[in-house]
């Protein structure tokens, strides 16, 4: 049961069921146990019931939620305890780390006080002693200058620092078990690994069992000892982490693993799982995954399968057709999209420079006057976009990547404004200078440049039906109105939706379907350039692959060019021809996807690639990582020299004399090895002679 041979079961959950009023059965009988010092990863997509499990364990479900089964902490039954009794356990023996560190800390109290409160509730320590301990804890979780920062408020912290505070609070009383609900989901990829490290260290220091709840298979691979996969409120597979990733036996787990875009080439092309998870208030009999399962047999529709041992000891799966899952690769065959003609064949054959540029951005700047100012310093100019240049040629995809706040969305908005850039620069769209456009010219150009936003829940007007949403661009650009219904049907078909979807409102569609509607709207006028702002980031993994497939297919069929803004480097690798890496308003590296991913030249690119988790426990544990330090928001902002040097691992390794160059001179973007399309802005770029 436990590979490291430590401890006995600390947290035991038996047959846990949670029903939200009136009839949403969020969890329907889940059992697991976690031992001392062990990490159990609970993995599931939205709607799987994983968060309800976490809240049920802590007794924090909303009032009048029905909970049955058993939750035992060191043998003591927790279900049915009063709020008063639970409050003596919560925070002391049983701690929790929540998803969103911004809203999870009380905005009006200093962070030190919030940690001290957790200590004082349970130990009765004096105010002074608790404060001193809080500073120690902040130090433990890696907050620099902890004594001073303990007096600061949550809004003065960055997201990563806030999550560290949450962890400090959780381990304050050396808990027996920690429940972590998506602790890294709201964070940038470079911070995720660090926060996990902190959680691991702090958990080990306290000897706590950790229940890690997440949707991210890649993240758990290197963190958990055992994994439990949930689907539609039930556990469908559980086992040692190696078994789950290397020898999965439940088709859903297999599908989930296959649909992940990966940085490494192992596992081949991501494959989508068709369909959507079932509604939890109206479950049909049988296996809830059967409608999406490629290997379902007749009996699957009769009864819900039980978790039964399969394969090695400790491995269990809820599947009737386990014989068919012995070879996971055979479960989800490749989809026919692969058989399409290679993308933009005739175009791609020609040299890049000989194709026309659909978008040409030169030296774009955009400044914001800073609204908020940490620690009361004077106000400054935030250089959101600080001299960005790139171009996109017909039929190609440029991936624009970077962490949140790097300015990539601002670039997109500046392009979409189709006006003279406010703070300098030049944007040429399809050969037309945006500065010279009048109202009519702008409107005409909008026909050819369309956008798809990140969140399909907010990019479609919730009060309009799908037909009206798709008709809007057509009406706006004087499409003959008698042809509009036909065109709407054509578009629905194009993006793989049913004709009947035209009459639905957005809330009647799943996330993936909504994003398809958004894509259809963008394509209604047959544009030549589509700007995609994190088009799959808000979607569940199993749906992401389908939308990406669609985007690729459309590009091939319609000869589109994409600007694909994303934070997920694995996704970008999958879709883009070229990639531009942004940091603090600049492009630090740009080039061919293959080249950049194989031989990253800029230390920031290296670090970003390093941080992407690989959904394979063996590979993931073997990787050595370079950690990028998080710059606290109150650190002095660099104005001269290389702006990356505060976080730069390469800078740290340089001699004093070599650093002088970074301190003094802002690195200019220069091409590498005579390749005009491969540029990097670093004095000491890899593979470049200096």
């Amino acid at each position: 049961m436990n590979p490291r041979g430590i401890g006995t079961n600390v947290l035991e959950v038996q047959d846990l069921a949670v029903t939200y009023r009136p009839d949403v059965r969020a969890v329907r009988g889940v059992s697991f146990s976690v031992g001392r010092g062990q990490v159990l990863g609970v993995v599931g997509e939205s709607g799987s019931g994983k968060t309800a499990v976490a809240l049920a364990v802590l007794g924090l479900l909303p009032d009048r939620t029905e909970v049955t089964g058993s939750v035992r902490l060191r043998g003591r039954e927790l279900l049915g305890l009063s709020d008063g009794e639970m409050s003596r356990i919560r925070g002391k023996d049983l701690a929790m780390v929540f998803q969103d560190p911004l809203s999870s800390l009380t905005p009006v109290h200093a962070v030190g006080d919030q940690i001290a409160e957790a200590i004082r509730i349970h130990s009765g320590a004096t105010r002074g002693a608790a404060r001193a301990r809080a500073v120690e804890l902040l130090d433990l979780v890696g907050i620099p200058d902890a004594a001073r920062r303990a007096r600061a408020h949550p809004h003065e912290f960055s997201g990563g620092m806030r999550q560290r505070v949450m962890i400090a609070m959780a381990v304050a009383n050396d808990p027996l078990a920690i429940v972590a609900d998506e602790p890294t989901t709201a964070l940038d990829v470079t911070l995720q690994a660090q926060v996990l490290d902190v959680l691991r260290t702090a958990g080990e220091a306290a000897g706590a069992a950790i229940l890690m709840i997440t949707h991210d298979l890649g993240m758990v691979a290197g963190f958990a000892d055992r994994v439990l996969v949930m689907y539609a409120g039930r556990a469908v597979e559980s086992g040692q982490v190696e078994d789950i990733y290397r020898r999965p036996r439940m088709p859903y787990t297999i599908g989930l693993l296959r649909s992940l875009p990966r940085l490494d080439d192992a596992g081949g092309r991501p494959v989508p799982i068709d369909g959507a998870p079932p509604q939890l208030n109206a479950l049909p009999p049988g296996c809830p995954f059967a409608p999406r399962c490629p290997i379902a047999v007749g009996a699957c529709w009769d009864d819900e399968p039980e978790m039964l041992p399969v394969g090695r000891p400790g491995h269990a799966a809820a599947c009737l057709n386990t014989p068919a899952t012995r070879d996971p690769d055979a479960v989800f065959p490749l989809t026919p999209t692969e058989l399409l003609p290679p993308i933009g064949e005739d175009d791609a054959a020609r040299a890049r420079t000989s194709r026309e540029a659909v978008l040409d951005v030169k030296d774009l700047h955009r400044f914001h006057v800073e609204q908020r100012n940490s620690f009361g310093r004077g106000k400054g100019l935030l250089r959101a976009v600080d001299g960005v240049s790139f171009d996109i040629r017909a039929g190609e995809t440029l991936g624009l990547v970077g962490e949140s706040g790097c300015g990539k969305t601002t670039v997109l908005m500046e392009i979409l404004a189709m006006a003279r850039p406010r703070n300098g620069g030049r944007i040429e769209i399809l050969g037309e200078d945006s500065a010279g456009l009048d109202g009519a010219g702008r409107k005409a150009l909008r026909r050819n440049v369309q956008v798809v936003f990140q969140d399909p829940f907010s990019s479609l007007d919730p009060r309009m039906r799908v037909a009206a949403i798709l008709a809007e661009p057509l009406r706006t650009h004087a499409f003959p109105s008698e042809h509009i219904p036909d065109r709407v049907q054509e578009l629905l078909k194009l993006v793989g939706l049913e004709p009947s979807h035209a009459n639905r409102h957005p809330y009647g569609l799943s996330g993936g379907q909504r994003q398809r509607v958004a894509i259809a709207r963008a394509l209604a006028l047959e544009p030549s350039l589509v700007l995609l702002d994190e088009p799959v980031a808000a979607l569940d993994v199993s749906v992401q692959a389908g939308v990406i497939d669609l985007l690729e297919e459309l590009r091939a069929r319609l000869g589109l060019a994409y600007l694909f803004v994303a934070h997920d480097l694995a996704v970008v690798r999958r879709v883009a021809d070229r990639i531009a890496v942004m940091h603090r308003g600049r492009i630090v590296e740009i080039g061919d996807v293959e080249h950049v991913y194989e031989d990253p030249a800029h230390p920031y690119t290296c670090a970003l690639l390093d941080a992407v988790p690989i959904p394979d426990p063996v590979l993931e544990r073997k990787r050595g990582r370079v950690r990028l330090p998080d710059v606290p928001p109150d650190a002095p902002r660099l104005e001269t020299g290389c702006l990356f040097r505060q976080r730069c691992p390469r800078y740290l390794a340089l001699s004093e004399a070599s650093r002088a160059l970074c301190d003094r001179e802002d690195p200019v973007s220069r091409s590498i090895d005579g390749e005009p399309d491969r540029m990097v802005a670093c004095h000491y770029a890899l593979g470049v002679s200096t």
Partner: protein, 332 residues
């Protein structure tokens, strides 16, 4: 924070000047003191009326801009002119402002505190009996105009007095003449004042409490499900403690925005309360001076109201800054 407040203050000052000037011009155009003077018996001669009007800077035969400049010049020197009876507006204004303050302070504080607590409690007990009772109570109170509420309270007080055979409640004026002449002297006078204060204070407190309870309930509902309340409970606070220390504390912040709005309602309510209970405060003065066509007094009370409303605005800004650390570090 300081810079932000200063800029707000400057903006407010401009608004006060404009509001006061507009009020003066409106009053000077629309009111007709000449007619009122002419109505006196014995009927004065036209020349006497003219002289009297000119003396008070109310003569409609003087061009409006000149009258305005005379008035504005006085105001800049701290002089609001003279009332219709020829008294100084300034002296009367201060006297009456104190009367109003004595009347309103108790009711406003009582109503505010009680309303906030009631609203927060109702939110926590959402959809149960206490919430229903508080919500419908607040509805009913908000639907009763002050002048009806005051009369109802008087009616009830009269019944109580009749039943107990005492003068437990008194509702005319601020004090009974001669109340301090009894055996206990000053104590008696104090008790008498308290008796007079009871009903008007209740009148004001009821309305204020209903308003505050409505707002606070809504704000509290918003933080009930907030992540940070959940965090506080995960730390080991009981639901009640988490809601008080983390929930209510945060939900109080937007309340400051409502404060200046509620304050306006308070001023308005004071007019009715003063009229009905016979307190000679600012509200009564305003109503009477409009009826009489006393332009200087109307303009002075308008000025006074604008200044107090804006002070309330500044006060709520400061309060916001004190309650919300996010504002303290923000410059805009």
């Amino acid at each position: 924070m300081a810079g932000f407040l200063l800029r707000r203050l400057a903006n407010y000052a401009v608004l006060v000047v404009l509001a006061a000037s507009l009020a003066y011009v409106l009053a000077a155009c629309a009111l007709n003191p000449r007619a009122n003077l002419m109505d006196r018996s014995p009927r004065p001669s036209a020349a006497v009326v003219d002289a009297e009007l000119t003396r008070l800077n109310l003569n409609d035969r003087t061009p409006l801009p000149r009258r305005y400049l005379t008035w504005a010049d006085g105001v800049l020197h701290g002089d609001f002119g003279h009332t219709w009876e020829g008294e100084s507006v300034n002296g009367e204004m201060w006297r009456r402002a104190w009367v109003s303050l004595r009347l309103l302070l108790g009711g406003a504080v009582l109503g505010g505190v009680f309303g906030v607590l009631l609203g927060a409690y109702a939110a926590v007990r959402r959809d149960r009996f206490p919430d229903r009772a508080a919500t419908y109570g607040a509805y009913l109170l908000l639907s009763v105009p002050v002048f009806v509420l005051a009369v109802l309270l008087q009616y009830a007080a009269e019944r109580v007095n009749a039943m107990t055979g005492t003068q437990l409640f008194a509702w005319v004026g601020e004090s009974t003449p001669g109340a301090g002449d009894g055996t206990f002297g000053g104590l008696d006078a104090l008790a008498d004042r308290a008796r007079h204060l009871l009903l008007p204070t209740l009148t004001i407190a009821f309305g204020q409490a209903a308003l505050y309870a409505r707002y606070q309930r809504g704000l509290m509902l918003d933080v009930l499900g907030a992540d940070f309340v959940r965090t506080a409970r995960a730390k080991g606070l009981t639901r009640r403690a988490a809601l008080l220390k983390h929930g209510l504390r945060t939900a109080l912040i937007p309340m400051t925005t409502y404060f200046s709005y509620t304050f306006g309602m308070l001023l308005l309510g004071s007019m009715f309360t003063e009229k009905i209970f016979g307190w000679h405060g600012m509200g009564e003065w305003l109503v009477d001076s409009i009826s009489r066509g006393d332009v200087n007094v109307v303009a002075a009370t308008a000025c006074f109201a604008a200044v107090t409303v804006l002070l309330a605005g500044v006060f709520s800004d400061v309060l916001y800054g004190i309650l919300d650390p996010r504002v303290r570090t923000r410059t805009r």
